[in-house]
């Protein structure tokens, strides 16, 4: 996947040499942990490497900061989701708790589902999840959410539009 042209590779290594420590300290000021700051800074450069045309970036530091900020959001969102997931498990008796492996895989899947539905209204998310994972009919979903089946149909269409867009970037 990472297959930069000679020019881009040179450009990115130049970018890296000039800005890596700057970016690390910038991110560290925000996340407060040197190790995760380095991870995020490194991931930022990986993102730049996979861009179609990194050479077109005019303000490298502004650009790097923006990418890093989004990565920080991702990390935070993941932590939010993980906490919420753990909370939902807390009530389960021990024999029903997932194993650590199941747990990790599950968190990862929750994160990508969250990305897919990002931006949808709460009812849209609910309708989509009840349909896809609960196998409920539109009528049953409508009952549960207190809306009509045609309205559920609209919400589901919208949810499909969001996730298709996310999965099929131009």
């Amino acid at each position: 996947m990472i297959n930069p042209t000679g020019f881009n590779r040179q450009f990115v290594s130049q970018l890296f040499v000039t800005n890596y420590s700057w970016l690390c300290s910038r991110v560290r000021a925000k996340v407060g942990c040197a190790a995760s700051a380095e991870d995020i800074a490194a991931e930022t450069f990986v993102r730049v490497l996979t861009m179609r045309d990194p050479g077109s970036v005019r303000e490298p530091r502004a650009f790097l900061s923006t990418i890093a900020r989004h990565l920080i959001y991702d990390v935070w969102r993941q932590r939010d989701l993980e906490n919420a997931y753990l909370k939902s498990l807390a009530d389960l008796p021990e024999q029903f708790q997932p194993s650590p492996e199941e747990h990790l895989i599950m968190i990862e899947a929750v994160v990508s589902l969250d990305k897919m539905l990002d931006g949808l209204p709460g009812r849209g998310k609910a309708a989509f999840i009840l349909r896809q994972f609960g196998n409920l009919t539109y009528e049953q979903i409508g009952e549960q959410l207190g809306i009509s089946a045609p309205r559920v149909h609209q919400y589901i269409t919208q949810a499909y539009r969001y996730s298709l867009k996310m999965l099929n970037p131009l």
Partner: protein
């Protein structure tokens, strides 16, 4: 492609998916959907990307969570908003466009695959008029372009009533071999070790990967692996049971019956090792797995705990386990 053309495709795809999901799509509409996918590879690939993603999520175990639990998790408030409120400007500089490379499972899922989920048998009419029934958790790739009549069974099990009156046979391909027929009713199933073809009416021709050719008549079945092994027997009388949502077992360990139920039930079923060894016989419902589990509890004296519908624990009662 222009942005608007791209968006229009995704828009149409979303409307198709939502229509089919509603359960109110007519057979005609299902066919029109297949045609829509065949019309443009971008149509098919948009659907394929979605189905691939969903299968991945199901495979990761999201299907085992109660949907309410999943929903609560996804609705977790975002600390990103708090961050924007509290710390605007710390990292923030002018916004620039971000291009993220996204890895799609393009090597895993072919164009316009037809997929059935857990506990879902899907009935479909193929473009040549053949009637297809997919067992739960199955996946096929149809190819009916350029006059082809071709199905590839990727996972699971199918039954097809081949539409008659064509010059060219319908071909069903598996990694272990190809079966073709002009007019029969066939079942093909992929298990971990063996592939099974059952001919329920008329006849069919099997060509295994290792080059063995064999004509099969109604009532015959072939078990093969494409690497030398090929066995022909009378087709088992219970082959039609799954079509009706039933399953028959005769003196099998409970564990293997539960394994079969898993394809029909969302959620985790845990069986204690002692209980898994019990022998069971009988005909059980695949469509109502709760009923099946309760019937097993009553006939075998098992302890079956439902903790929500998604977590089931099966064990021997305390006293029996100790003796």
């Amino acid at each position: 492609m222009s942005q608007s053309a791209h968006e229009q495709i995704l828009d149409e795809a979303a409307q198709w998916l939502a229509l089919l999901d509603s359960g109110h799509a007519s057979a005609q509409e299902e066919r029109a959907f297949l045609e829509w996918q065949a019309r443009d590879p971008r149509h098919a690939s948009s659907i394929q990307a979605f189905k691939g993603q969903m299968l991945g999520l199901q495979g990761a175990g999201l299907g085992r969570l109660a949907p309410e639990q999943l929903l609560k998790t996804i609705k977790a408030p975002s600390s990103r908003r708090a961050f924007i409120r509290n710390a605007t400007g710390l990292l923030g500089v002018s916004a620039a466009a971000i291009l993220t490379a996204r890895a799609l499972p393009d090597d895993v899922f072919a164009f316009h695959d037809l997929v059935s989920g857990t506990g879902q048998r899907r009935q479909l009419q193929l473009p040549d008029g053949s009637q297809l029934l997919l067992n739960a958790r199955s996946r096929i790739t149809p190819d009916f372009g350029d006059g082809n009549r071709h199905l590839t069974l990727r996972e699971g099990e199918l039954q097809v009533a081949v539409a008659q009156g064509r010059q060219q046979p319908l071909r069903i391909e598996t990694p272990a071999g190809v079966v073709s027929s002009l007019d029969s009713v066939l079942q093909v199933r992929r298990d971990a070790q063996l592939t099974r073809v059952l001919v329920l009416s008329s006849n069919a021709l099997l060509t295994t990967l290792d080059g063995q050719r064999l004509a099969l008549k109604a009532g015959q079945g072939a078990w093969f692996n494409g690497q030398g092994q090929l066995e022909v027997r009378t087709s088992p009388p219970d082959a039609l049971l799954w079509v009706k949502g039933l399953m028959k077992v005769y003196d099998q360990p409970l564990g293997s019956l539960i394994d079969a139920l898993r394809t029909y039930r969302s959620g985790i079923i845990r069986v204690s090792p002692q209980a898994a060894q019990l022998r069971v016989s009988g005909i059980y419902s695949l469509d109502d797995t709760r009923k099946t589990l309760l019937a097993l509890r009553d006939s075998l004296g098992l302890e079956v705990q439902f903790y929500t519908d998604y977590w089931v624990n099966i064990s021997l009662p305390e006293r029996a386990a100790k003796t």
